[in-house]
């Protein structure tokens, strides 16, 4: 029974990966524009299966409008702040083993030390992770995932990919998400003891927590954007790049200079692809 459940989950994940690769190959057939400006925009977007992604995005937004957002709003408006913060901290603490594995895989010993001491401190002094005393002491939470690890190892992100329900991603980060769920001890334990409700419940609460935190943010973003799909795509990429750099990098991010004298630099970061 146990092994059957595990096999089923494994099959599902393998199926997901295959479907993903198939989609990407299909998408690869889309034509590259002739006009140099359009071509630059095409490479900058790095989104060969855009029509498919947009369809999934519409689907996600529909689901969000009738389902996720209203529930998240109720959660935000009825559950007291302190309890919601506690749940948020608890979920973060539960991710510690996966974060630690990725710290180590990235060769980030300093990060690993922070992860371990946060986990110990918050589990004991934070009442099982509901408090974040480590954060108050200056050891701030910093998530790591296998998508970031692959990036640190030198793997490119690949084309943009909008996943149903899970949202913006790319082949690298989507594979990373699968790996993270496979190496998660909580999920493993639940699998092995036939407690499948636990990982599912965790995903639901996590989603609720995340969505409730960004209600106003996303509303504001949508109001000011000309094309919300593109705004999300751009933000996703830049935020991931920032997470891979671990944010506090000492070097300023190399943005293209905004310069009238050096006209070439106006062409932007991917101009070399067009030439």
């Amino acid at each position: 029974m146990i092994s059957r459940t595990k096999k089923y989950l494994g099959d599902m994940k393998a199926g997901f990966a295959i479907a993903l690769i198939g989609l990407l190959m299909l998408g690869g057939c889309a034509g590259v524009p002739e006009d140099p400006a359009d071509r630059e925009a095409y490479y900058e977007a790095n989104d060969p299966i855009e029509p498919f992604n947009r369809a999934v995005f519409s689907f996600n937004r529909g689901l969000d409008a009738v389902f996720f957002k209203p529930i998240a709003a109720i959660y935000r408006d009825t559950v007291p702040d302190a309890l919601r913060d506690g749940i948020h901290n608890f979920l973060n603490n539960l991710k510690s083993p996966v974060i630690l594995a990725n710290n180590l895989l990235q060769g980030d010993l300093q990060g690993a030390k922070v992860t371990v001491s946060r986990f110990a401190t918050n589990t004991v002094a934070g009442f099982g992770g509901f408090g974040d005393p480590a954060g108050d002491l200056g050891a701030k939470y910093r998530g790591e995932d296998f998508g970031q690890t692959l990036a640190v190892w030198g793997l490119g992100e690949g084309p943009y990919l909008m996943l149903p329900i899970f949202g913006p991603s790319n082949p690298r980060d989507a594979s990373g998400m699968v790996v993270d769920s496979l190496i998660d001890p909580v999920t493993m334990w639940a699998d092995n003891t036939d407690r499948n409700a636990i990982p599912i419940g965790r995903i639901i609460v996590r989603g609720l927590d995340e969505r409730s935190r960004f209600i106003k943010t996303l509303d504001d973003l949508e109001k000011s954007s000309l094309d919300f799909y593109v705004t999300i795509r751009s933000l996703y990429r830049q935020l991931r790049a920032d997470a891979i750099r671990n944010g506090a990098s000492d070097d300023p991010i190399p943005t293209p200079s905004i310069s009238l004298e050096e006209d070439e630099s106006l062409l932007g970061p991917r101009a070399e692809l067009v030439k």
Partner: protein, 209 residues
């Protein structure tokens, strides 16, 4: 998804608090980019977060600070990328006006939501190859929550410093806007006119609110 959306919040928060910061006024006499950004931010907080300020008045003040502290024309050109070569002089004039209006409409109202955050300059890094400086700052919420990282790219720091990009938690406002604008143009068969049309519509919509 979690790791992605967490920074989203920051982005938004920062964009509006960040606006506080960026709309600073005149240059620091000593040519220090950090002092320039700090002065601008403090002035923005001082003049834009006044209680009972009407939206119209806030926008007016915001626009003045924007023109003082930012090279809006340069940012507008960068944001258009290659498409800027397709602009006729008349279109360029209209584009500049519409682009400025969009910035004002997007960020001005955020100052009305200001709730006492503090603005701290962390450090300044030079970018000699781009004759620019990056001013790294933090916006700290009153309740001790996590600070928001905001980096300001400043050009011409010695004589007449102007901000040319703002990055919130690593997200560049110019790059985001650029991708959006080129997507609008691309979807309309490469016609820059379509962007102007979209900007006019957006302006009307934001105004009616």
């Amino acid at each position: 998804m979690s790791s992605i959306f967490r920074p989203f919040l920051f982005v938004c928060l920062t964009v509006f608090v960040g606006t506080l910061v960026m709309q600073g006024p005149l240059a620091a006499q000593n040519g220090d980019a950090g002092a320039f950004v700090k002065t601008l931010g403090d002035k923005a907080i001082q003049t834009l977060t006044v209680k009972d300020l009407s939206e119209a008045e806030r926008e007016e003040r915001f626009r003045a600070l924007l023109r003082d502290g930012f090279d809006v024309k340069r940012i507008g050109l960068f944001v258009l990328g290659r498409y800027s070569r397709k602009l006729s002089p008349a279109m360029a004039t209209e584009y500049n006006a519409l682009f400025e209006d969009l910035i004002v409409a997007t960020y001005s109202a955020r100052f009305g939501e200001y709730s006492g955050q503090s603005f701290v300059i962390k450090r300044v890094a030079e970018q000699p190859e781009q004759s620019a400086s990056i001013v790294m700052s933090e916006i700290r919420p009153l309740d001790g929550g996590p600070p928001i990282r905001v980096d300001w790219q400043v050009r011409g720091a010695a004589l007449d410093p102007k901000i040319v990009d703002v990055r919130v938690e690593g997200v560049s406002m110019s790059i985001t806007q650029r991708e959006e604008f080129s997507a609008v143009i691309k979807q309309n068969g490469g016609k820059v006119d379509s962007l102007l049309e979209a900007l006019r519509k957006k302006a009307a919509k934001l105004k009616s609110k």
